[in-house]
């Protein structure tokens, strides 16, 4: 669906802009953030080790080799989500807030303990949705849960900033009526759209090679993520990738080689 890909892309995108960023894997037992970030061979200590006091935060944090201000906080593969104890997570989040400008929490799927723990501390949330009915319904549910079960909701502080990110979008399939359109999704979810990430084989390549797709200069998905990160920090960017690609006359003649 795109949560981990998005977490990786956003973390990389923010760090590239000079913000000290950490991305945390909350999917205990099914970890894959380390794979997508390409640091799976450097994991020594993890989130659960830190919660249990077996390691310090600094021992567990992995510095990204490519981007200076980017850190990864992996999770355990051998434990499960019950290991995410509330006080431990609270403590970790407080420490990370002090050291980092952005703390990205990669949430597991579902609405059980793992996901609830991941969303609890959010100041902002990016709801990743595919343009098809069951994904949209699930996202709607999550938005409702965010509004009710986050720390900000509990303490009656100002609400979590909600953003919608539409991923795996294919304008051609929308035209054929096989997929919901941007307008359909916006109407059902009533949320501002942060970005449209087009369906692209580069995404699969990125996760298989452990290079966040935003670092792939040729990838339309990468460029779309870059736009989304820009909008997130307040820049205005025109929404691309929502219409079927129009092949220009010249391109049709000479093919890609000419560009």
């Amino acid at each position: 669906m795109g949560k981990t890909t998005t977490s990786a892309a956003f973390a990389a995108g923010l760090a590239l802009r000079g913000h000290k960023t950490v991305v945390i894997d909350f999917d205990v037992g099914l970890r894959n953030l380390d794979l997508v970030m390409g640091c799976e061979r450097r994991v020594v200590f993890d989130f659960i080790n830190v919660i249990n006091g077996d390691a310090t935060l600094n021992q567990a944090l992995i510095r990204d080799k490519r981007i200076d201000s980017l850190y990864i906080f992996p999770t355990s593969q051998t434990r499960d989500k019950e290991a995410l104890k509330r006080e431990g997570v609270d403590w970790v989040m407080r420490e990370l807030r002090n050291d980092f400008e952005y703390v990205i929490c990669d949430s597991p799927a579902g609405i059980e303990h793992g996901a609830l723990t991941a969303l609890y501390h959010a100041d902002a949330a990016i709801i990743v949705t595919n343009p098809e009915v069951s994904s949209v319904r699930d996202s709607d549910r999550i938005i409702g849960i965010l509004a009710a079960r986050s720390r900000r909701a509990e303490k009656r502080e100002s609400p979590v900033e909600e953003h919608l990110l539409l991923t795996r979008y294919s304008p051609e399939r929308v035209k054929k009526g096989e997929m919901l359109s941007v307008d359909d999704v916006k109407e059902i979810l009533s949320l501002p759209l942060l970005g449209i990430i087009p369906e692209s084989p580069t995404v699969l390549r990125a996760s298989n090679t452990g290079i966040p797709v935003i670092l792939d200069a040729e990838s339309p998905a990468g460029r779309a993520y870059e736009d989304a990160v820009a909008r997130f920090v307040g820049e205005q960017r025109e929404m691309r990738f929502s219409l079927p690609e129009r092949r220009s006359f010249l391109r049709g003649w000479f093919g890609r080689a000419a560009t």
């Binding site: 319904r137 709607d140 549910r141 938005i143 409702g144 849960i145 509004a147 009710a148 109407e187 059902i188 009533s190």
Partner: protein, 230 residues
């Protein structure tokens, strides 16, 4: 003389649902109750109910009430009292700790109760998301936002949605047959008034997608055109 401590027993106003009992041993009773509860389990869960015995010739022994209580417990309903009961029925009810409740249509004449001021409708302005449930006891519900599929609106009075209604709307939840449902864009999964219900599948397509009213007419749910523009 002024009270310096709060009184232990204070006034309270509650809206309670009423279950009409004709024959406590009727096999259809349990089934019908279960069906109605299944429509909206969160709403009915452990709800206190009053047993209306005006149509019941029986229920004269404590055993009858115990059996009824067990049947209701299976549907997660808790009987707390009886209304419109004869003297013998009342005696049996009290033996199993059911209170005599003053009903609104009692057999014996009584002084008219002072009119209650109509409660203000509750207004919701944020989208009602899938899985959310809103219940307005004793009043109307007004939603000025879309209601997603998978959301539930429940009110003892009317339900108005000035937006798209894609979820469930259950009006007249305490039995008010005059309650109505109004939607600017009617696409509800299920509508119900005073216990009668209609699922989306059973609604003619011409009623869906635009403004509509739902009302209970001759004991059946009818979809009326919304309202004329201008």
């Amino acid at each position: 003389m002024t009270a310096t401590t709060a009184s232990r027993v204070q006034g309270g106003i509650f809206t309670l649902m009423v279950v009409r009992i004709a024959d406590p041993y009727d096999p259809a009773l349990g089934r019908e109750l279960e069906e109605q509860v299944a429509l909206s389990p969160g709403f009915f869960a452990d709800a206190p109910v009053v047993l209306d015995l005006r149509d019941c010739p029986g229920c004269m022994s404590a055993d009858d009430f115990t059996a009824l209580r067990q049947l209701l417990r299976r549907c997660r309903l808790t009987p707390v009292g009886v209304q419109n009961a004869s003297a013998m029925q009342l005696r049996a009810a009290k033996a199993v700790d059911l209170a005599a409740v003053k009903g609104t249509q009692a057999k014996s004449p009584r002084r008219a109760a002072p009119p209650e001021s109509a409660p203000r409708p509750q207004v919701v302005t944020q989208p009602v998301r899938s899985g959310a449930q809103i219940y307005v006891r004793g009043g109307d519900l007004v939603v000025v936002a879309p209601v997603s599929a998978g959301a539930e609106l429940i009110a003892d009075g009317h339900i108005h949605v000035y937006g798209a209604l894609r979820g469930r709307a259950i009006a007249g939840a305490a039995g008010d047959r005059d309650a109505r449902i109004f939607a600017q864009r009617f696409e509800a999964e299920l509508v119900s008034i005073a216990g009668r219900y209609l699922v989306n599948d059973a609604i003619a397509p011409e009623h869906l997608g635009g403004a509509a009213q739902v009302a209970l007419i001759d004991d059946r749910l009818a979809i009326l055109p919304g309202w004329s523009k201008g």
